[in-house]
């Protein structure tokens, strides 16, 4: 039954044109960034590494596909939650708005299973989106800019990762980003349980992500105590795979926080949905 339900939910998600808008947007942003860097990348790199060139002799293909993908990821992973909220905020509220929720629940479908399968379908969408981001980003960047050692500029250090040591880091970084985006999907779904139309959950999800991201990045002592407990603080944990050496302890903690929030959102959704009167 779960498989049949999952199949119908995936069918509904991927039958809607709006689902593919996200894929189109991601492709467009990737191509725009790559084109801009292709034309003006050397100037950008010179600006970004101006302090370094005075002290180090940097040679080789620094502006390569791996660095470009890192830049694309840094730019896009802030905006991908919006695309995820668009689909996952609609999962329950959209059905309520269309009036199809009562049609679904007048079938022998348990509410818990329905929430689970909708969320699973949402996660499949998230995963597909990130795979697309990885494939489109990495492949086109390597095609356009070639391969090379990867230079990661951080606020306090520069990390040079040998070309042969990069691929596994990207695989794990995308895996981590998938978990972070699944947390956003669970949040959007949780908010979706309250709404009778999708706009509310979508806007609220984005509002929460934006406000918490600001709190996570602001260097104000007042917020420092709560930062480790905000899921937005840990959403950028994928960058940890590009440290030398990788701090697996910190990444594991971030992963645990994200999974904890995800579990919390999922359990709360199931609890509320099972008690909800379907009035739409």
């Amino acid at each position: 039954m779960m498989l049949a339900l999952l199949r119908t939910e995936l069918f509904k998600i991927f039958k809607r044109p709006r689902t593919f808008i996200s894929f189109g947007l991601i492709t467009a942003v990737i191509l725009i960034i790559e084109l801009a860097l292709y034309v003006d990348g050397e100037k950008f790199l010179a600006f970004a590494s101006q302090g370094l060139t005075a002290q180090f002799d940097i040679q080789g293909n620094i502006l390569n596909g791996y660095l470009i993908t890192f830049i694309i990821l840094q730019t896009l992973l802030i905006h991908v939650p919006l695309l995820i909220a668009l689909v996952c905020g609609d999962l329950l509220a959209g059905e309520a708005n269309m009036g199809t929720l009562r049609l679904l629940l007048s079938k022998p479908v348990s509410r818990t299973k329905l929430v689970f399968t909708k969320l699973l379908a949402g996660w499949v969408y998230v995963f597909a989106l990130l795979v697309w981001l990885a494939v489109a980003g990495l492949l086109t960047a390597i095609l356009l800019f070639g391969k090379g050692d990867m230079m990661v500029l951080k606020s306090t250090e520069v990390v040079i990762i040998p070309m042969t040591d990069v691929a596994w880091r990207y695989v794990l970084a995308f895996g981590f980003a998938s978990v972070a985006m699944c947390t956003i999907a669970a949040l959007a779904m949780f908010l979706s349980v309250f709404g009778e139309n999708a706009i509310g959950p979508i806007v609220t999800t984005m509002g929460i992500v934006v406000v918490l991201t600001i709190l996570s990045t602001l260097e104000i002592p007042l917020f420092n105590t709560i930062k480790p407990y905000l899921f937005t603080t840990h959403m950028v944990g994928w960058k940890g795979f590009f440290d030398m050496p990788v701090n697996y302890g910190a990444i594991g903690f971030s992963l645990a926080v994200l999974l904890g929030y995800t579990a919390l959102f999922v359990l709360a959704t199931i609890w509320i949905f099972n008690r909800k009167d379907i009035l739409s």
Binding site: F11, P17, L105
Partner: protein, 299 residues
């Protein structure tokens, strides 16, 4: 299917109060009441869409619980509007709802269902292009896709044009007649329930007003019976001296009008024949709406 002491309160508002009734196998059971009487809330409680504040629902011997609604595999329903997925076709809907009902989509059954509801030729067309009547017919097909024993239809003719209403009523008769289903039909139209149902329950302001066999209930009320006859000599004089005299409300040349029960009409007909009155027509004009209003307004 049975409801026992079913109540639902939304805050201070009492939508349904202490509702009990029983629907027997094979019946068309009419659930009648004005708009806002609590019909849809009651039907939603039957299907586990709304949690009752108190009371319980039993379907085919199993208690309906919103969290474990496996028993709904034996029921099909249309609640209020036929809201469907606009971007899916009729066939896609039926395949999807077959899976949701726990059965493998069967192309032959889907084709025959679409034919049965008169949607052949529209199988692959997205539902956004359907008229309301077509959506309603597809919703009937969806409620039948898993061959349920009980069909719950909430105001199935709402918003349909006259032809759509006639088609829908024919479909409902077929559900009970040809397919042998038990049908629970809600409506705010008394004549609709009268035409279709064997039993009915009248609900008003969330409470049951009356319940019973439709014929019996309607026989409790008096109706206006109009007799048109051939007479050039003025009003029918004989009736004034007969047992019918106190029922006469109008007596003029060629037309006499009486107020009586439906069951008394054959005797009146016999009397007219005995009196050698040449009758053109006997037309019962039942004041159903008045009866309905008198019941629902008394609560």
């Amino acid at each position: 299917m049975a409801a026992e002491g079913l109540s639902k309160h939304f805050g201070d508002f009492r939508a349904v109060h202490d509702l009990s009734f029983q629907v027997s196998r094979g019946q068309i059971y009419g659930f009648l009441g004005p708009n806002g009487a609590g019909k849809s809330t009651s039907l939603r409680m039957l299907l586990g869409l709304i949690h009752p504040s108190s009371g319980s629902v039993t379907m085919l011997g199993q208690k309906v619980d919103p969290r474990h609604n496996g028993v709904l595999g034996k029921a099909g329903a249309i609640i209020e509007r036929p809201d469907l997925y606009k971007y899916l076709s009729a066939t896609e809907h039926l395949r999807m709802f077959s899976r949701l009902s726990g059965i493998k989509p069967d192309t032959a059954r889907i084709t025959s269902l679409l034919q049965w509801v008169g949607l052949q030729g529209w199988e692959k067309v997205p539902v956004r292009q359907f008229s309301l009547g077509m959506k309603q017919r597809l919703a009937i097909a969806l409620s039948l896709v898993h061959d349920p024993e009980i069909i719950i239809l909430d105001e199935p003719t709402n918003g349909l044009d006259p032809q759509g209403i006639a088609d829908m009523r024919a479909l409902i008769r077929q559900l009970a007649g040809e397919l042998g289903k038990t049908v629970l039909l809600s409506s705010h139209l008394l004549h609709e329930v009268e035409q279709l149902a064997d039993h009915m329950l009248i609900l008003s302001k969330g409470e049951k007003v009356v319940e019973g066999a439709v014929k019996e209930l309607l026989d409790r009320t008096r109706m206006r019976v109009e007799v048109r006859y051939l007479d050039h000599a003025g009003p029918l004089q004989a009736i004034a001296q007969s047992a019918w005299a106190n029922m006469v409300t109008r007596n003029e040349t060629g037309l006499v009008e009486l107020e009586m029960k439906e069951s008394e009409i054959p005797a009146l007909n016999q009397w007219l024949v005995d009196q050698a009155v040449q009758v053109f027509s006997i037309i019962p004009r039942q004041s159903l709406e008045a009866y309905f209003l008198s019941l629902t307004q008394s609560v």
